[in-house]
């Protein structure tokens, strides 16, 4: 490797007093004094959150307003800190969604246990559970920190997913499967 000898110039008298450097530094800091602030006034102004952000896990509906979760309990089993507790339930026969396997009767995610690892989202065969862009969870009691089913759907909203797997399956069954 080539060695480059850097010539070290001795400091001039003016440079050794540091005064020009100090004046230059003062000018820099004064420029910052008059610059606009960069602070975000947090609770009132919220930062822009990336679409890929993995925040609080939520449950989503499909475009027809059907809850996508079929309470297979895979997320409950995979959850490393055991934050998810699902009570599976049947869907009433007269419901328009009767062709879907099941639906959760209760779905609780204990946010005091959740480690935001995203395994639940990864394992979900129905794409029903999503880590979305909510990044701050707070509450005054332990009970407040447990998201129940209603809260999870409220946070989750609707997933604009056009596949509608269960409707296709029903239509296929009506046409004798295999067409």
């Amino acid at each position: 490797m080539a060695v480059i000898q850097v010539e070290r110039k001795p400091l001039s008298l003016l440079e050794r007093t540091y005064i020009p450097q100090i004046v230059g530094g003062l000018r820099t800091t004064l420029r910052h004094f008059f610059k606009p602030n960069v602070t975000l006034q947090y609770p009132e102004q919220r930062p822009e959150i990336s679409k890929n952000y993995r925040g609080v896990p939520t449950l989503v509906m499909d475009p027809n307003g059907r809850e996508k979760c079929v309470s297979c309990q895979l997320c409950e089993f995979v959850c490393p800190p055991k934050a998810i507790r699902i009570t599976p339930g049947e869907i009433a026969a007269d419901s328009p969604n009767a062709h879907v396997e099941k639906a959760p009767q209760a779905f609780d995610i204990d946010m005091l246990r959740c480690i935001y690892c995203g395994l639940c989202q990864e394992v979900c065969p129905e794409e029903a559970i999503w880590l979305q862009n909510q990044f701050s969870m707070s509450g005054y009691t332990r009970a407040e920190m447990v998201n129940n089913k209603a809260k999870l759907y409220e946070l989750g909203g609707t997933l604009p997913d056009p596949h509608l797997k269960w409707d296709h399956k029903k239509a296929a069954a009506e046409h004798g499967n295999g067409h």
Binding site: I22, L26, T29, L30, F33, N37, V38, T39
Partner: protein, 386 residues
């Protein structure tokens, strides 16, 4: 308006009133400096600084948001907290000296203001009279003598705390304060050599320094910062060191000594150290301005008397002692505020010195420089005033 009744009061009552007024002004100024420090630090770093606190009872007042954004209520809340929170005395300290130290820190800080003039007015005979609590001839000597007592408070606090970091902080502080005091004193000697011309009456009064800078003519009206820039520079650097400001914040050294000499202090006792430090800053700035920046004269070559007499053509009350006094004090306060801003500005510009660098600058550079400066000016003044 006639204020002669005030001058008919007995002297002791006037002194008590003036003293109380000065303490009542100096204490809030020192407190306001702490908020100014936080705000200016924030602005220099591109932050808004404390701007949230607002007592709900006052929220209806229109325009109160200005005070809220300036953090005035944060200052009140912080100050009030110091008074009401528990004041712990650790078990391992030397109680008497531990409690005495913050008191000893306050006494010199509030005492030096006595000899510092902060304005002047023309009396009925047309003679200029200083606004000062004690117009004594030893002025500057008294400031140096009393303010250097402040080092005892730091040593005492460091030693009485009976633990490592405060002790190291106290030792460093004493070494630093004593080293820079030499350069500081030597740097102002040329000013007084120049003022005390041979044959005249000798004086060390700060009022006379300002009067000397208020003379007519090109050389008479020049502030000493123009005629003695090196003295002013040395004095300013030593002032930074004497007031424990960055880049000379050895006594506290938050990064290596926790809190330095006041590590073991909390609540009200700590706030006394804090206020004392800002008082030193205010008084130090005041002395610096009196010595080198023309005191209450608005501009170089423009004296307060000239200003008032020019204003008298527009507003007839301008020559009234009250108006002139308030004008002089305001000009002086504006200069002090700028000086304090400069302290804070430098704080966020320069990196801290290491302890050995502080000692090197003090003993090997500043002291020889101030001695050379003194010798050069002594010869020059001797030739000029022959």
């Amino acid at each position: 308006m006639d204020f002669s009744f005030y001058f008919d009061l007995p002297l002791w009552l006037r002194l008590v009133l003036q003293g109380t007024a000065v303490i009542l002004v100096l204490f809030p100024i020192a407190a306001a400096c702490s908020m100014a420090e936080r705000k200016i630090s924030a602005w220099l770093q591109g932050r808004p600084g404390p701007n949230r606190t607002l007592p709900p009872l006052l929220a209806w007042v229109p325009g109160i948001w200005v005070l809220q954004k300036l953090g005035i209520f944060q200052l009140a809340a912080d100050g009030g907290k110091f008074v009401f929170k528990e004041d712990p005395v650790p078990g391992h300290v030397n109680k008497l000296y531990f409690i005495a130290a913050p008191i000893l820190a306050m006494i010199p800080a509030l005492t030096t203001v006595v000899v510092v003039p902060f304005g002047a007015y023309l009396d009925s005979a047309g003679k200029i009279v200083p606004l000062v609590l004690a117009n004594v001839d030893i002025g500057l000597l008294a400031v140096f003598a009393v303010s250097s007592l402040g080092v005892y408070a730091v040593i005492l606090a460091g030693w009485a705390s009976n633990s490592k970091y405060p002790f190291l902080g106290g030792v460093r502080a004493s070494a630093q304060l004593i080293s820079y005091e030499l350069s500081m004193t030597l740097s102002v000697l040329p000013v007084f050599l120049w003022i005390n011309a041979p044959g005249g009456q000798g004086t060390l009064s700060l009022f006379d320094v300002v009067q000397f800078q208020s003379q007519p003519g090109f050389w008479g009206g020049a502030w000493f910062v123009f005629t003695m820039p090196l003295s002013a520079f040395i004095f300013l650097v030593a002032l930074f060191a004497e007031t424990n400001r960055q880049p000379f914040d050895m006594p506290e050294s938050e990064s290596d000594l926790v809190g330095g000499f006041h590590t073991e202090y909390g609540a009200f006792k700590w706030s006394l150290f804090f206020v004392a430090e800002y008082c030193h800053m205010v008084i130090g700035s005041a002395v610096f301005i009196l010595l080198f920046f023309g005191g209450w004269n608005p501009l170089p070559w423009v004296t307060l008397t000239d200003t008032v007499q020019a204003l008298a053509h527009i507003i007839p009350v301008a020559t009234h002692p009250l108006f002139m006094g308030i004008l002089g004090i305001s000009i002086f306060l504006v200069k002090i505020c700028f000086s304090i801003f400069f302290f804070m500005w430098v704080r966020w510009t320069l990196p801290r010195f290491r302890y050995d660098q502080v000692m090197n600058i003090g003993w090997k550079q500043l002291l020889p420089l101030s001695i050379a400066n003194l010798i050069a000016y002594t010869i020059g003044i001797a030739l000029l005033q022959k």
